[in-house]
Every structure is written in structure tokens, then in C-alpha cells.
Symmetry: C2
Subunit: 230 residues, 2 copies
């Protein structure tokens, strides 16, 4: 069930053009590139490496034995993953888009003070994101979940320190880079519900769809108020 095994790891290349995103590239010993929907590791695999997203995006998910899947985190450039409490990974990691990752062995990471500090920083913000996501999964309606999800992709909006609409037209175009199934599994919904909510938002002219995974938000403020956060 929604299992992609098209692991075709492109040969490593130097991540020299990292789009100016802040990463720990200097600390990492190796690079590796994955195609879209490539498997990085599975839950239960021996946890040999720590990874950092250099470019692209990665999702972490868990499966129940009957096939139900929950996507627990969506990661972007600068985010770390693969630091388990035990010696096996507690989640599976799969790319959403073509992705370049830095990696280093656990041992290397443990001996680097800079790395340890960086790991701690990432963990703290990871925990904070997971708290927010627990609220979404436990207490938000389908509409609120989808609205919250879309707001993730609007930079510097929807925060505590939202700058508000800049122009007369409060528009924004976002690229999801996720299938409906992946979105549904992240939001704790079914693909049908996600699709219906998006259609409903189109009907209400909150959004329009340029492509299936490219959405124009017609009214960012309006959408933000649908998240339940305000």
C-alpha cells in the first residue's frame, strides 16, 4: 500500500550550489542524492547515519501493520533526521521531491561538538513542530487541517508575528510537492476528504488551482482564519 521502492540513488555529487540555505555541509562527510519518492531508510533499519536535508524535502512516516500510514514530519533544507533513541530508526524516511542529503555516521556526529549543538537545536524545534501537529491531529476539523497545511507554505504569514497583507491583493502561490495521499496521511484524513475540502475552498474562492499541486491562495488572511489558530 502506497509503498514506493523506486530507489534509484543518483551518484553523489558535491552540494556546492546549496541555494544559500544554511546547512552544516562543512561538518558532513558525504552527500547523496535521491529522486522524488525515493526511500532513504525504513522504520526498523539499523540507525547507522544521521542525515541533513541539503536541498529538496523529506517526509518521515510510520505504518500500522494493516497499512494505515501517518506522516509525522515534513522536512526541508537545514532539517536533520535519523537520530533515534535506540539503535534502529523509529520512522521511515522518503523524499517528496528530488533531494540532496548530507550524511554522517552516528559516531562522527557524537564526536563533533558543533554537530551536537546543531542536533540539539534541531530537536528542540522538531519537538515544537510535533506539538503543533498533535493539536492539528487531535483537535482540528478537516477544513482547519487543510487550511493549516496550506499556510505552512506561505512564508512569514500565519506566525505569531504575521506581517499581514502587503499588497491590495492578498495572494500567494504555493507548490505542495505532495500527492493527495501524502497530504491525507500527514493530516490524518483520507484522500477523498482532502480533495473535497480543496474543492470546497475553490467553490468559496479562497483558492484556485494552477496545477494539481500548485495552488493560488486568493486570500491569505482569510485562509489563515480557517486554521482555527485565531
Amino acid at each position: 500500500m502506497h509503498m514506493h521502492s523506486n530507489l534509484r540513488s543518483i551518484q553523489p555529487r558535491n552540494g556546492s550550489s546549496d541555494e544559500g540555505k544554511e546547512t552544516m555541509s562543512g561538518e558532513f562527510s558525504r552527500h547523496k542524492q535521491f529522486p522524488a519518492h525515493g526511500v532513504i531508510f525504513f522504520e526498523g533499519d539499523p540507525a547507522s547515519n544521521i542525515y541533513e536535508v541539503a536541498a529538496g524535502s523529506v517526509m518521515l512516516y510510520k505504518l500500522l501493520p494493516d497499512g494505515r500510514r501517518q506522516v509525522v514530519e515534513i522536512l526541508g533544507p537545514g532539517d536533520l533526521f535519523g537520530m533515534p533513541a535506540g539503535d534502529i530508526y523509529d520512522v521511515s524516511a522518503e523524499t517528496l521531491t528530488e533531494t540532496l542529503v548530507h550524511l554522517m555516521s552516528r559516531k562522527e556526529a557524537e564526536t563533533s561538538h558543533v554537530m551536537q549543538e546543531h542536533i540539539k537545536k534541531c530537536l528542540v524545534s522538531q519537538v515544537q513542530n510535533l506539538h503543533e501537529h498533535a493539536v492539528l491531529l487531535g483537535r482540528k476539523s478537516a477544513h482547519e487541517r487543510v487550511a493549516s497545511f496550506l499556510m505552512r507554505f506561505v512564508p512569514s504569514r500565519g506566525d505569531f508575528a504575521c506581517i499581514g497583507p502587503q499588497e491590495d491583493a492578498d495572494e500567494s502561490v504555493v507548490t505542495l510537492n505532495m500527492t493527495r495521499q501524502e497530504i491525507a496521511d500527514f493530516l490524518g484524513l483520507t484522500i477523498e476528504t482532502v480533495s473535497r475540502v480543496l474543492s470546497d475552498m475553490k467553490r468559496r474562492k479562497v483558492i484556485t488551482m494552477e496545477k494539481q499541486d500548485r495552488i493560488r491562495i486568493m486570500n491569505v488572511c482569510g485562509l489563515c482564519h480557517l486554521t482555527g489558530k485565531y
Copy 2:
């Protein structure tokens, strides 16, 4: 709405009888005791201290503006909390039972290497627990959620390395130390649903209730199979 402000901080005393639980007491500068349902801090408060549960239990929760609450973590002895990404707490912290906490300022924590290491360890297992909880909130039925919740309180059972039933009678008595509202807010359900599921489990003779928050599990293996994990 379910807001408890009976903050009556009992005067600090030395945590000398820590029940043999492993804590970082040596590293912490101060102790503080709270009554059951005492507020330790609120979401949005300036994050001045890092806390460790020495004895008792603490819940971390977030509120939506309309009063909906999600309990995101339940902590016991040895667990740390109060390490926010920014300079304010991202959750509220409240005790479930009478609780003794160790605390130290952020600055103190940042200068201690032992502390940093300990914080990292706790964060990693926190993340893992939050992953598990996301699966519960996003993908499990009410019955599975309650079963999973009850299994939390059965030591060395329900894990990957479950030892299996030890005696002929596979029983276990657990004390929840939580109100139905707190349980519901942790599991993303309503109090009525929690109550109904527990009643249903009684009817099926999976559990019996010694007191309202003291439950005898008649068949641990049976309950474990209701969690959805197997």
C-alpha cells in the same frame, strides 16, 4: 474551560528520597513542589527555566483560542521539559499528581556539558514518543486510542520486546492519575467517548474498575491486540 489555577506552590524541600529513579538532581540548583493539578507555567510565558520531573507526573498541553485543548505529552520521573526553540514556552505545563520538580535557569543549563548531553537524550526520546502519539491521533480509532493509553501504564508489556504473560492470569492493575477530561484531551476524544469505550471494555471483561482512575486489566495480551499496533 478546564483551566485550573489552584497554583499553591508548596515550599521547596530537598528531593532526597527520589525513589531510586535516575534523575539529574546533582546538576539542578533548585527544587519545587506542586500540588496535583498545579500550573508550572503557561504557553507564552518567558522561558526562564528548564525543569525535570523528580517525582510525580506532568502534562504539557496547548489550547486553541476557542478552548479546545490538546495534551501533547505526559511526563514522569526523569523527563525534562521547558526547552523551547524561542524565548517563550510553546506549551503549558501542569501537574497531574503532586509533583516534585528540579529546575535550573537556561543559562545554567547551557553552560553545563553534562546537562546538554542529558537534554539531547531526552529530546530524542521525546521526539520518538511524539511520533508514536501522532500515529495514535491521526490514524487510530477510539478503541485503539484508549487501549494504547492503558498499555502505557503496564511496564515491560506492549513493547517490541514484550515479555508476554508471566502467570496464568494475565492481569495488571494500573493507576491513571488523570481525569476523564485529561485523558480525552490527550487522546483527541471527548470525555463521553472515553467513558463509553471504557464501559464497553468492562462489558467485554477486558478490564474492571477498582476505582474511577484505578483499572484492572484482566487480559493484558488481549488489550494489547486492541491497540492496532499488532
